[in-house]
Structure formats: structure tokens, C-alpha cells
Symmetry: C2
């Protein structure tokens, strides 16, 4: 991706406005129906000037528009597209970071539940789930490269403190091979013989 400086500035402006708990809640409220400033302030438990300020931020991005009625000013979402924008963001925030498009549904769910914010929360006890996690971990290494044990440990420790168990499992379940304290990743379809041929 080649983003120009201008694009980055525009995106930062956009994200900065969105990256606020109360403004997201306002957008959430407005997906249902229009609301006056007073209503919004009451719902968020903030004073009216604060609500007014947030709404002006959102208006600056063109996300909301105003309808005046007496002394009230009803704010509403500018377009339904925003609806899906928010929904998408929510889903992506949780999932996209972790998902691999090649993964099956089972693999996807397993990884989603065992890997949170880049950490392995627990080494799965159940064999099928363990295999999914080991496959995922093995993909942190490149096929064709050779890794000293210390480096394997360091990489695994990023995910879980018990790198020794993970390292042993990776070898036992044939995701990685080992010789003279040097490790390498086994390609899914490679045979032990092939792997040995390329060992250091």
C-alpha cells in the first residue's frame, strides 16, 4: 500500500474523531433514531456543552447532520453507509487481526478463542485444538531457514511463557524438525527424508 501524506492525515483526522468512547456511543444511538443534544447528554451522563462538542466533531467529518425544531436541534446519521462502516470496524477489530483467510471455520474459531491480542492465553488440552495452535505457531517460522534453539524460544515466548512445552510439541507433532539444537519448519507435504536432506 502506498498512502500519500495527505491520505494519512485525512485518515488520522478520521480515526481521531472515531477513537472516543462517547462519540462511538453517540453514533450507536443515532443508528436507531435522531436525538436532541439534551437527550444525548442525558444518555451519556455528560453535560450538554460536552455533547454539543462531540456532535460538532462528528459533523466535521460529515457523519451527522442537524434538523432544527424549535429550540431543539436533532442530530441524525448522515447516511446508512456509516451503519455498515461501524459494524465492519467492530468485527475487524476483533477478528481480522488474527484470522488467516486459508483457515477453516474450526481453525478460525480455535485461534480466536486461544489467541488474544497476540498472546496464547493457554496451551489447549484437547488434541484437535492443540494441532491448530501448533500449526499457527509453526507459521511464525520460514520454510527453508534454520533457527537456533534460543531464537525458537524467543519467538514462542512472545505467545506463551512455557516455550519449552511448545517447542517440544512442535517437534513431536512434526511441525518442526530438529538436529544439533538447530530447528527448521517442516513443510506440510514434505517427508522426513526431504527435511533431512536440507538439514544443516
Amino acid at each position: 500500500m502506498k498512502a500519500t501524506e495527505e491520505e494519512i492525515e485525512a485518515l488520522v483526522d478520521f480515526l481521531k474523531v472515531l477513537a472516543d468512547r462517547n462519540r462511538l456511543r453517540i453514533l450507536g444511538m443515532l443508528t436507531e433514531r435522531e436525538h436532541s443534544v439534551k437527550e444525548i447528554a442525558a444518555s451519556l451522563n455528560i453535560k450538554e456543552p460536552s455533547a454539543s462538542w462531540h456532535l460538532q466533531q462528528l459533523k466535521g467529518l460529515g457523519l451527522v447532520e442537524i434538523r432544527a425544531e424549535g429550540t431543539n436541534r436533532f442530530y441524525r446519521l448522515r447516511q446508512e453507509g456509516i451503519h455498515s462502516l461501524l459494524k465492519d470496524l467492530l468485527q475487524r477489530a476483533e477478528a481480522e487481526v488474527i484470522e488467516d483467510p486459508n483457515n477453516s471455520e474450526f481453525e478460525r474459531k480455535t485461534l480466536a478463542s486461544f489467541i488474544k491480542k497476540g498472546k496464547l492465553v493457554e496451551i489447549p488440552a484437547r488434541r484437535p485444538k492443540l494441532l491448530v495452535v501448533l500449526k499457527f505457531l509453526s507459521e511464525r517460522f520460514r520454510v527453508g531457514e534454520f533457527y537456533p534453539e534460543a531464537q525458537v524460544n524467543e519467538t514462542l515466548k512472545e505467545f506463551h511463557p512455557d516455550c519449552a512445552t511448545l517447542r517440544r510439541d512442535l517437534v513431536d507433532f512434526r511441525f518442526m524438525a530438529r538436529k544439533n539444537n538447530v530447528y527448521w519448519r517442516i513443510e506440510p507435504d514434505s517427508t522426513p527424508e526431504n527435511a533431512l536432506e536440507t538439514s544443516p
Copy 2:
């Protein structure tokens, strides 16, 4: 959309990390290849501790991972999915806010160039583009409702200070009708007779 409080918190955390010029630039750099902390600091023209701090923020979201090599630590994107995530966000930030899925390509482009951040940057001189903009503006009013002139002006002023010209054009090009200083939107397929029948 019904977002739980937890979902909102997760999304805010995610957006807060992304809503930073330097972190976006780092992600941009990492879409091309892995980089050391030193390289990133040099590119962004900040000191190494600052670069390190940004990378830790990104790591906290699981967006990047580390490969150690000697005293260097090379950071790389965690997955290609992020690539498309960023690209999407960029496009959306620009376009989605404004776009209407029903619009033709021409309408989409015209609106994208004339309406920036919810403001009409200029009243188009060319007839076809003017019509697109007028259609868009007319959609700010509900069919079946009647609007006093002051309210029409206020709504139009949100887009451009010269509300008088816009109001006149809306009537001249038959997007809206007017009687006794009250305005209403004409449905695309309604005839002048129909419109008069429902006038107040």
C-alpha cells in the same frame, strides 16, 4: 447496530492505537518489508525510544511481530489481512461517508469531488454535475414534509453559504417545489400536478 459496552471499549482501544500519524506510517512501511527499530526511527525522524514505544502499541494489538537478529529486532506485519484492513479504512475515510450505494459512477465521482467533509466546496458550473449535487441536496429533505424557507436555508447553509442560489436551483430544476414560502421535495417520478395536489 447494538454494540455492547465491551465491544465499544475494544474498538476504542483499537482506534486509539491506529489514530496516530506515526503509527500509520509505520504500518505503511511494514507492508513493504520488515524493519528494525533504528530504521523506523530514522524514517519517521524520531528517536529510537519513541519508535520502540509505537511498535509496542502496535504489538499490543497483535498487529506486528518481532524477529530478533543480533542486537537488531526486526518488526514485521503480523498478517496480510492488515494490509487490506488499512486499505479499506483509507478508502472508507474518504468515500463511504459520502457515497450512496444507489449512485452511478458519475454521481459518485461528482459528489466525491464537490463534497468534502460534509461541505459543498463549490457550486458546480457544469450542468450535469450541478444536477448531481442538487439531487444530493434534495435528499436532505423528506418527501411528504413541508419546510418553511428558513429551515430550507439552514439545511442548505450546512453545505454552502450561498443558500439562496441553491434554493432557487432546487426549485428551478424541479427537485423541490414552493408555495407561500413553504417548500417540499418532489419525488423523482411525481408530476407537477401531483405535487400541487399535496401542497399545504
